[in-house]
């Protein structure tokens, strides 16, 4: 695929950063070719990720994972993909037929679009044509991804609503509330990046990281983004919309066959997209990591594609790792994290970063000092609020730990645990509950969550 002569030429003249103008002069077949490449990559990544996730989780749980179909079980997802269309396609009687069918299509389509503005590499040569290794770029490229993730939620909500089942509806509502809650923190995490890059175009953001990844300058934004990207994709430990324990399968309870597959596909593509976005915004995009970047050819030609993919797959491995290790959080914990931690922290962080930036740019104004003082006050308020919340939490937890009593609420004795739990000696437990005043373990189990 690579033309050797052109590669030599590129190696000789490094630093071909694509700009917005490079996207205005694309030839039509090049656009088609790249669109096909992105499409194929997303499908292959999904298939690979299904295998990868099952294998890694298997290893983490001391079992081999799928290992029958093909070498290392590599053909397992292919077998799954072939099996799904051969299953019966059920549309429940209470469903709204049209919307029930459209919803998975919306989810999958929007998932595909998001990836179009991710830069894979600098300008390369494909069939003697110089072209940036990126399907599309816009002055508002990052907004495209945000918009697509928002419209993707429509798929989920419509699916839950059209199913005509309470579990689906609950899952859909939860998913909508969760995604919009985390989208705020996600949007705020981007602000710092735009502040430093001075652009919303993804290629310009990668170009702005020439002298150092934004990860080093904006670590708080990066950490917030990591939280929100898990929340946005409804993955463990934030997968409450499809929490099996309580909602069967959430919004896709009623889906089967290829319609179910579309939701599955959308979830994995979304994971890939947000991981790629994290790479682009914070991890230098396709730029080589430090020791390799000393080699002058590291950021030219097709090599950057490799660095990009490595970074993306490391993040995807993080997803699997999270799933293998963390339990699902409670819904109130999820919302509290989004609204009470991520949002205030990111807002104050943005103001802080803005002051630092103003200092660096040497705005000659006394106003900066006033603003800096204000931000300082805000920081103190936040730390105090944090401290108070921690004290309250300690105060809530203290009695149960200090007095190891069972969680049975005797007459006139208030029940200690913060989470409402039925008494363990209810008749329908058939005597499996503990004797009152017998053991301390139930209380610890109940409140430890």
């Amino acid at each position: 695929m690579t033309d050797q002569g052109m590669l030599q030429h590129l190696l000789a003249a490094p630093g071909t950063e694509p700009t917005l103008a490079s996207f205005n002069t694309e030839i039509w077949w090049m656009v088609l070719l790249k669109a096909g490449m992105v499409f194929a990559f997303l499908l292959l990544t999904t298939i690979f990720m299904i295998w990868f996730e099952r294998r890694v989780i298997g290893r983490m749980q001391n079992r081999p994972g799928p290992n029958r179909a093909g070498p290392f079980g590599l053909l397992q997802p292919v077998a799954d993909a072939l099996k799904l269309p051969l299953k019966e396609d059920i549309i429940p009687r209470s469903a709204d037929k049209l919307i029930f069918v459209i919803a998975p299509v919306i989810s999958a389509t929007m998932a595909f679009i998001g990836f179009s503005v991710i830069p894979w590499g600098p300008e390369v040569s494909i069939f003697h044509h110089q072209t940036p290794l990126q399907l599309a770029d816009l002055p508002v490229a990052v907004l495209v991804i945000l918009a697509m993730s928002s419209i993707g939620v429509y798929g989920l909500v419509l699916a839950g609503w059209a199913s005509g089942s309470p579990y689906s509806l609950l899952g859909a509502l939860r998913s909508a509330a969760q995604v919009i809650s985390y989208e705020i923190a996600m949007g705020l995490a981007f602000v710092a990046v735009f502040l430093y890059a001075g652009s919303l175009s993804t290629s310009a953001i990668v170009a702005a990281q020439n002298n150092g990844w934004f990860f080093w300058e904006l670590p708080v934004s990066f950490v917030i983004y990591l939280f929100t990207m898990v929340g946005e994709t409804n993955r463990l430990p934030f997968d409450l919309p499809e929490g099996e324990g309580e909602l069967v399968a959430g919004y896709h309870t009623e889906y089967s066959s290829m319609k179910f597959a579309m939701f599955y596909l959308a979830e994995y593509i979304n994971m890939t997209t947000v991981a790629a976005l994290a790479t682009t915004l914070f991890l230098g995009g396709w730029r080589a990591p430090w020791p390799i970047s000393l080699w002058s050819g590291a950021n030219t030609g097709w090599w950057p594609l490799l660095w990009f993919l490595i970074k993306v797959f490391i993040l995807l491995f993080g997803y699997v790792w999270l799933r293998g290790t963390l339990p699902r959080v409670r819904y109130d914990q999820l919302m509290a994290l989004g609204w009470k931690v991520l949002i205030p922290v990111s807002i104050v962080w943005i103001l802080f970063i803005a002051v630092i930036r103003a200092w660096k740019l040497n705005f000659n104004s006394t106003a900066i000092y006033a603003v800096a003082g204000l931000v300082f006050v805000l920081l103190i308020i936040m730390v105090m609020a944090w401290d108070e919340a921690a004290q309250q939490r300690a105060a809530r937890n203290a009695p149960t730990e200090a007095s190891p009593q069972p969680a049975v609420a005797g007459p006139g004795q208030p029940a200690a645990p913060a989470f409402p739990v039925p008494p363990l000696d209810l008749p329908h437990y058939h005597g499996t509950g503990v004797e009152p005043g017998n053991s301390a373990t139930p209380a610890r189990e109940v409140t430890g969550a």
Binding site: L20, F23, N24, V31, K34, G36, F39, P85, E88, D89, I90, I91, P92, R93, S94, P104, V105, A108, T109, I113, F115, S116, V117, A136, L143, G164, S165, Y167, L173, A177, S181, I184, G187, L188, F190, A192, F194, L195, S199, L200, T253, E254, S257, M258, A261, M262, M335, A336, I343, P344, I347, I350, A354, R357, A358, L361, A367, A370, V371, L374
Partner: protein, 119 residues
Amino acid sequence: MRLYLPIFILALLGFGFASFSVFMGTRLGPKRWNRAKLESYESGIEPTPHPPGGGRIPVKYYVTAMLFIVFDIEIIFLYPWAVTFNKLGAFGLVEMVTFVITVLVAYAYVWRRGGLEWD
């Protein structure tokens, strides 16, 4: 519009693939009619009858939706500000801080009044 063309092409590819798959799912799979199978799934019990008018949804979700709009609009103001930060200078910094503080006041109110609690 030229810049958007590749996005449309990818959208068409994705849409075509998704609709084709969904269509094939209806063709390839078997069809065995069963009354219980077509009921909505509720762990084996008789499905809950649909409440008239779609039923009521907890007001929590509406509060969340309204808060989302407030903060989303804040973000919408923050993006162009962030992009033109260098050009706006100290003026932009002061104005944006004023704006963010007013939003934070509303946020503090909502928090203290329990608008962010879920149970």
